[in-house]
Symmetry: C2
Subunit: 222 residues, 2 copies
């Protein structure tokens, strides 16, 4: 079935968007032999790059674990969940550790480069960001983690739109991930995971009706 | 320009997805006279309902502030940002306060209803959720807030796909929001906002090139 999805302004039709969100589910068993086509994976990486964050600061890095040996070492520190080794892709969503002035400087330099403006013209914006980063280390870490979850939501929606199965995962030992993948010395810490690929034919979770509360219990107009 | 967006399996084409994500930006000035068509808004509410969360527990509620008088009261406690009153829609993403056994029971009852299974058959899952909720109040609140940010990411991606402009906003006084909107007595607390509508013709932010770090600086293969 081919359907014309584009409205006149280049946007997707609502039924296509919702179809993807309804079809998706937290995939429990991936088909270990089925790979995400290169073009689709490339789009998903680009969606990661385009993720929204406060100020656009992007306090994150996305580690894609390709090495099967690394995957095998991660599985036991992930409640032995099969998705860790069986999904075509495993993305570790990591937050910047010790977020600070250096990150703001780097971002300002990037804005100046992309928009071809002098960095000095961005000083007001820079001071605003520096001000909002004057929080405790724990508060900053919590804030960065929340930003990473925006990227997770964006990634899951993008995968759903492209018909790629995914499973967000919080059940893992973040400290062990940081150690095994060497994230700490790069200045990052693992926050949440997403496995991506295609569901196995025998994933019984695929057939279960999706459970959401009634809209009236979740969306309230004031 | 009309383009055929659907691949044979009903998924969106990568270029359409990325087009939406590239076109979107944190809209600073909304056109106060331009409304989101009913069908599109309905789809965005459905996307909120379909948002992903850990265990599917949905520890949230989405308050859509329609009342102009309420919007006017919110603006001064939102750094006087114009989006609060000028965007067609304002969504307050709120997290459940004091998340606990009651919420797990309610969710289990919902699963039993939707999947037509006895609640007793879900006891293992229920115990697992209860176990993972045995955290401090502060940890639970932080966890719920992160879940809410998944819903924010999903909403922003959905809006981008549908060609609706949006602006995620953290710059507001959450305690004042809880008070003005009466969220506390409903058992929720404001976490983050999204204004949605259409950009004003004079929003200079619309013309600025999007700034993201290079993919090689954000996505790392291991």
């Amino acid at each position: 079935m081919k359907t014309d999805l584009l409205e006149k302004d280049g946007a997707a039709a609502p039924e296509a968007l919702l179809g993807g969100l309804r079809r998706r589910y937290a995939t429990k068993r991936f088909d270990p032999d089925r790979k995400i086509p290169g073009g689709l994976w490339d789009a998903l990486e680009e969606a990661l790059v385009l993720s929204q964050s406060s100020y656009g600061l992007q306090p994150w890095r996305f580690f894609v674990v390709d090495d099967p040996a690394l995957r095998a070492r991660l599985r036991p520190v992930s409640w032995n969940q099969a998705q860790i080794t069986d999904a075509d892709r495993l993305v570790v969503f990591a937050a910047r550790k010790d977020l600070g002035a250096h990150d703001v400087e780097r971002y300002i330099a990037r804005i100046a480069h992309v928009r071809k403006v002098p960095a000095s013209s961005l000083d007001g914006f820079k001071q605003m960001m520096l001000g909002s980063l004057s929080k405790s280390k724990a508060e900053l870490q919590a804030w960065s983690a929340r930003q990473v979850y925006i990227a997770l939501g964006n990634f899951l929606a993008a995968a759903a739109a492209l018909g790629v199965d995914a499973c967000p995962m919080e059940g893992f030992d973040a400290a062990k991930y940081d150690e095994i993948l060497g994230l700490s010395e790069k200045g990052y810490t693992a926050v949440v995971l997403a496995a991506a690929g295609y569901r196995a034919g025998d994933d019984h979770a695929a057939a279960l009706p999706k459970v959401r509360f009634e809209r009236a219990d979740v969306v309230e107009h004031l």
